[in-house]
């Protein structure tokens, strides 16, 4: 149990710098998820915390100790790998007990701790099997068991669910959440799946190209993205983004159409500023089928080109300013392609980003 602190951490391979001086403080027992597209440096960051990659510059500390020069085994952490990395020549029991055996624990201590971990994860019946005889979900559990058995200061997860099928992934996601509630420990979890990030994290760290874009609770990141990248990366389907320019009280799009500037952001923009207007599909709804129907609304008539039925809601494809835009219909009825609908855009929930930097104007 410990906090983890990254201070100006840099990683380069020869001349190629892949992590550019990131700062991050992870608190006691906090579940932090590093999320971003592939190649954003999230796995490298995790591997630097684990000690599997050298740190090129900056410091990483676990607890109160700077661990830059400590090998993985001296960092008192445990890690669950993407493909589990179970030792194929050992039984489940030996896999779980391996770390303790290396630490030269007494056999009865090992036995007891292994049994406890097995109980927590429901591995009791599988103890004498080898990894090859386990299903994907079972392997996943053994990998987690191997992590908790040593009672480390922190758990590191490197895309642990990406090799599972969709159904199992949801199930294991819940199990990881439950495990964290049971075994209170600091967790650093890497994923490219923003749904996993949203559902698991106490705090989300959104990364891109070796930089941290935003750190915040799932709600913060979802509701107040700091730039267009975070806005489009978090949330599914992604946020609609339309370039335009401020023209008095309006935002004017390239085809001449316009919409009012959200009142709460009015003093954050100046006339003539190039901006990107963003709103989530949830906030563009047919009249009578939305969730935010009070507050400032922009009514419009839109032709639906395609409707995707999901049951409780329907995703509507339409066009604004020549761009494909997604909306939603809650409590849906049948929609025919080509149908024209009266829709409301909830401006209270809309976002404005600077056209040049992509930063949210809210921050100026």
């Amino acid at each position: 149990m410990a906090e983890i602190a990254l201070h100006n951490v840099v990683k380069n391979y020869g001349k190629l710098e892949v992590v550019h001086g990131i700062n991050l403080n992870i608190e006691h027992n906090e579940f932090v998820v590093l999320v971003g597209p592939s190649g954003c440096g999230k796995s490298t960051t995790l591997r630097m915390i684990a000690g599997l990659e050298e740190i090129s510059d900056g410091t990483i500390s676990i607890g109160s100790e700077i661990v830059n020069e400590l090998p993985p085994r001296k960092r008192n952490i445990s890690m669950v790998f993407q493909n589990y990395a179970l030792y194929p020549h050992m039984s489940v029991r030996d896999n779980l007990g391996f770390g303790l055996k290396i630490a030269k624990q007494a056999p009865d201590v090992i036995e007891e701790r292994v049994r406890e971990a097995a109980d927590v994860l429901g591995l009791g019946d599988l103890m004498d099997r080898t990894p090859a005889e386990l299903s994907g979900g079972q392997r996943q559990r053994v990998a987690m068991g191997r992590a908790i058995v040593r009672n480390p200061q922190a758990f590191l997860f490197d895309e642990p669910l990406s090799n599972l099928d969709a159904k199992l992934r949801v199930q294991m996601r819940t199990e990881i959440k439950k495990l964290h509630q049971k075994v209170k420990t600091t967790v650093v979890y890497v994923t490219h799946d923003q749904v996993e990030a949203m559902t698991l994290a106490d705090r989300i760290v959104v990364m891109k190209d070796g930089y941290i874009e935003q750190v915040g609770s799932p709600m913060e990141v979802f509701n107040h993205p700091v730039n267009t990248f975070v806005a489009s990366f978090i949330g599914s389907p992604p946020m609609n983004l339309i370039p335009g320019a401020i023209d008095g009280d309006n935002i004017r799009f390239s085809d001449g159409a316009h919409i009012s500037v959200p009142t709460r952001l009015k003093d954050k923009v100046r006339n003539g500023q190039e901006i990107i207007f963003g709103f989530r599909p949830d906030d563009l709804t047919p009249v009578g089928h939305g969730i935010n129907e009070s507050g400032q609304q922009a009514p419009m008539k839109l032709v639906i080109t395609l409707a995707e039925l999901l049951g409780t809601e329907t995703i509507l494809y339409t066009q604004i300013a020549g761009q494909e835009i997604l909306g939603k219909m809650f409590d849906p009825r049948d929609i025919h392609p080509g149908e024209e609908l009266n829709m409301n855009l909830s401006l209270d929930k809309a976002h404005l980003f600077d056209g040049a930097t992509g930063k949210s104007v809210r921050l100026d």
């Binding site: 050298e54 740190i55 090129s56 510059d57 410091t59 830059n68």
Partner: protein, 307 residues
């Protein structure tokens, strides 16, 4: 800049580890291969003879190379070697492919057959040579005995004496020994072959030959090139076979580049000249290997298996 570098000796640093791990291999090969080859390169420019040690310092420039390049026997041996390799490798490939396809068809006893296939690969070339020297012996060989017993021939056929028959016998031994390299690797290729493209091709209306020609063959070609690369590493093993079967004789009729080198270098003790020839044979081997290796890399690309 790197704060981890402080206090860590250079040989403990990550970027040096692979070189430390590789150093025994590199040192061994430098001492046993590179250094001697440099020495023999030097020697090939001297008139060194084993019986006159002082001739090691007798610099003759390109005279050895001029001599061998104007020597008819050298060119005959060289041409014979190229011909020998061309025939051997092609026949081995075709036979190996045939055998692989054959064994791939058979479901019962396949593993046993595959094991048997590997035996010739494990034979010492000297044994293969001996075995066929025995079989092709004109007087007591089983082949002539059998032909006579069956009444197919009344005289003793001089398998190892006649110019063409001797070459044929040696080729036969060589092909017997090495075809399995192709067969085994091509069979591995056939095993690794995914079913989907085969079925897709059948659905698309290809007949058996077209499926083989356009799907199977391209897929197993990388395996053929692996086999070719492996083979080109040890083509010179044919020296052992020739040495035991005919010794390059009779009267130089089965002389290959490698037996010629041995004769000039050891029997005639003209080390300088032999080294010049040796360099030609080394270049030949490297050329063969390089050629197949690039083929292998090219084939791997469109197979998509590589990084």
């Amino acid at each position: 800049m790197s704060n981890i570098a402080k206090g860590v000796p250079f040989w403990r640093k990550e970027q040096f580890t692979p070189f430390i791990l590789l150093s025994p291999a590199i040192l061994t090969l430098m001492f046993v291969v590179l250094l001697p080859l440099l020495f023999s390169l030097y020697t090939s420019f001297t008139g060194y003879r084993l019986i006159r040690p002082e001739s090691l310092y007798d610099w003759v420039g390109f005279r050895n190379y001029e001599r061998i390049f104007s020597n008819k026997n050298f060119w005959i041996a060289f041409g014979r070697t190229i011909l020998f390799l061309t025939i051997a490798l092609n026949v081995e490939f075709i036979l190996g492919l045939g055998i692989a396809l054959l064994i791939n068809r058979i479901t019962w006893g396949q593993r046993t057959l595959r094991t048997f296939m590997m035996f010739p690969m494990m034979f010492s070339p000297i044994l293969v040579g001996y075995q066929f020297k025995f079989i092709f012996n004109d007087n007591i060989g089983i082949l002539n005995n059998a032909l006579q017993a069956l009444g197919l021939s009344d005289g003793a056929i001089p398998w190892l004496v006649d110019k063409y028959l001797a070459m044929f016998s040696i080729l036969f031994a060589e092909i017997w020994m090495s075809t399995s390299v192709f067969a085994i690797l091509l069979l591995a290729g056939l095993f690794a072959m995914p079913r989907d493209p085969l079925e897709a091709a059948k659905v698309d209306g290809c007949n058996a030959w077209q499926v083989f020609r356009h799907i199977t063959l391209p897929f197993i070609m990388p395996f053929a090139f692996i086999a070719m690369t492996i083979r080109s590493l040890d083509v010179a093993r044919a020296y052992d076979i020739v040495d035991v079967m005919t010794g390059g004789g009779p009267a130089g009729r089965t002389e290959l580049l490698w037996t010629l080198i041995a004769r000039v270098g050891y029997d005639n003790s003209r080390m300088g000249q032999a080294n010049a020839m040796a360099y030609v044979s080394i270049l030949l081997s490297i050329l063969f290997t390089y050629y197949f290796f690039t083929k292998l890399l090219a084939a791997r690309k469109y197979m998509g298996g590589a990084e």
